[in-house]
């Protein structure tokens, strides 16, 4: 490539070395370790004794996990959570970014910062706020939204139908501001001449204008969606603090990582089933990959049309 020096790899060691070393130590090794663990017999439980004989049972743990109705429930819940939050956050973030782009510059900074605030808070603190401020019979959601609409107050925390929406709402509250900051920066980076050209062509508020904005954030949207999907699959803290480590009523709020935690460690169900949990962890990876594949696929369809 022009201007990009072809360098002997030896000279690049100081640059790449630390990353590769840490990657091997804290990512690759645990991955292999987990795979080895997932093949072990789990009936002995967690044992540190020296004479403890490890028995390998092949892929039994994976099979057991896939047939576990609670795992299936957690899988579906996590899927709902991820899809729900991406579908709400990305368009809303874009709408807000366009609106922010529209207002005078001096007001932009302050308002964007205010929008960013929930993204900075600890998920645990947000859950606490959700519990005290939004939820409950006297909570803001019931008082300002549900009752004025003439509906019965909703018991957000106890009604299995509403636990998932309330988790999604928490994600929306948390991430929308961050996403709109990213989008706004993308919009600000669009070269001026594109807008002037559009104006000259007489498309002031028209389709062309929107097209420029959308093209401006297309790659950012992918980046943001990937981030949200991964963060959604890994979601733990919010649900953990909100539901106290359980899955909530009828496990309606049981997320994948919460369940892995429940299976592996005491304080959850106390089953100490580390091999099972390891198998479960390893099953999460293809799930994320599959979701991302679907997303990129639908994007290429969207771009063709």
């Amino acid at each position: 490539m022009h201007g990009m020096p072809q360098e002997r790899i030896r000279l690049l060691y100081p640059l790449l070395g630390p990353f590769v070393l840490l990657w091997i130590l804290f990512w690759l090794v645990p991955l292999g370790w987990g795979f080895e663990l997932s093949l072990q017999d789990s009936s002995h439980g967690f044992s540190n004794s020296v004479e403890h004989q490890v028995q390998y049972v092949g892929f039994d743990n994976f099979e057991r996990t896939l047939n576990d109705p609670k795992f299936q429930k957690a899988l579906i819940n996590s899927l709902k959570y991820v899809v729900g939050s991406v579908i709400c956050i990305v368009p809303l973030g874009f709408l807000l970014a366009v609106a922010l782009f529209d207002i005078p510059r001096f007001a932009r900074g302050v308002i964007t910062f205010m929008l960013l605030i929930p993204g900075l808070a600890l998920p645990g603190a947000m859950s606490k706020l959700f519990y005290l401020f939004f939820h409950g019979r006297e909570g803001a959601l019931n008082q300002y939204l549900v009752i004025p609409l003439g509906l019965d107050p909703i018991n957000w925390m106890m009604d299995p139908d509403f636990i998932m929406p309330s988790l999604v709402m928490q994600a929306v509250w948390r991430w929308t501001g961050v996403v709109s900051l990213f989008f706004l920066c993308g919009l600000e980076a669009i070269p001026r001449w594109q807008f002037e050209l559009a104006k000259l062509e007489g498309f002031k508020n028209g389709a062309k204008f929107r097209m420029i904005l959308i093209t401006g954030v297309r790659k950012l949207a992918i980046f943001v969606s990937v981030f949200l999907i991964v963060d959604g699959v890994a979601a733990f803290s919010g649900a953990y603090t909100l539901l106290g480590g359980s899955g909530g009523m009828l496990d309606a709020g049981l997320l994948l990582v919460t369940y892995v935690y429940q299976v592996a460690f005491p304080g959850g169900s106390g089953r100490f089933d580390l091999p099972g949990a390891a198998a479960m962890s390893l099953l999460v990876a293809p799930l994320v990959a599959g979701l991302l594949f679907l997303m990129l696929k639908s994007r290429s369809l969207f771009l063709q049309s």
Partner: protein
């Protein structure tokens, strides 16, 4: 879009985002009874007792948690920024064998979150005998795929002419990096802040890797809200407020730098 409508829309959302945090702050001075009435913003009288209870360590060593979190997040973000910037520079500006493989690895780390690997990580650290120390928590978050991708995009802005000159001069890649990285101050600060925020919020790994004498803030908050402490709600609100202020100040201080860096990121 109509400018007035835009202003109303963003102001509405900004208020919706920020108001609960204002409520949280004022609630730290309220009685339980007042907190259970979310419509009320201001307490009838300001009572700072929750803060003194919290900082005296009546429930847990909150001041210790604050320092612990600060120490872990700062050192991890510092190291992660350095390591990612080094790797990102090499990936953005040099071609070498195995480059696409390495970029693929970085993306793979993003795609498989650490939280999903938490059981194997726990077992691995257990085997090493490192559980319980905050260093294990710091170390396992340094290699960040997000960071490598971020810096690969940032360093692409470095003019290629500079690379040609450096090659004629026979400058080693590491020397060149040392020379040019101060130019990317805003980018470095931005990634530092993003990593800091994510590390500040890390709950699950901290839950598994740390023992009870090293609680970080998310753990302390979860502990305070579990019922065995019988702490008044205002104490929880005070803890949430105190855990929020450091990161809010950091971001407020560097917000403009961050916006500059994000606009320059060649993601478009």
């Amino acid at each position: 879009m109509n400018r007035f409508f835009s202003l109303v829309l963003v102001l509405g959302f900004a208020l919706l985002s920020a108001y609960p945090f204002g409520w949280m702050f004022f609630s730290s001075f309220k009685t339980n009874k007042e907190i259970y009435q979310p419509k009320q913003l201001l307490p009838e009288e300001f009572d700072g007792q929750a803060y003194s209870l919290l900082l005296e360590g009546k429930y847990l060593d909150f001041e210790g948690s604050l320092w612990q979190s600060f120490f872990i997040a700062t050192s991890q973000s510092f190291l992660a920024t350095g390591v990612s910037a080094l790797a990102g520079f090499a990936l953005a500006k040099y071609s070498f064998r195995g480059k696409s493989l390495l970029l693929g690895l970085a993306v793979l780390i993003i795609l498989i979150p650490r939280q999903a690997l938490v059981v194997p990580v726990f077992e691995w650290f257990n085997w090493l005998g490192w559980t319980g120390s905050s260093f294990s928590l710091i170390l396992c978050g340094i290699a960040s795929g997000l960071g490598v991708v971020f810096f690969t995009q940032s360093f692409k802005n470095l003019p290629n002419e500079l690379m040609e000159v450096s090659q004629i001069e026979g400058l080693r890649p590491f020397r060149l990096f040392i020379l040019v990285f101060p130019l990317f101050g805003p980018g470095l600060i931005t990634y530092f802040l993003l990593h800091f925020a994510l590390c500040w919020q890390e709950h699950l790994l901290a839950l598994l890797l740390l023992d009870d004498s090293h609680l970080t803030l998310p753990l302390a908050l979860a502990k305070l809200s579990d019922s065995s402490h019988r702490a008044p709600e205002s104490v929880g609100m005070a803890a949430a407020t105190l855990s929020f202020i450091p990161i809010l100040c950091l971001f407020a201080l560097f917000f403009n730098k961050m916006r500059t860096a994000l606009s320059q990121l060649s993601l478009n």
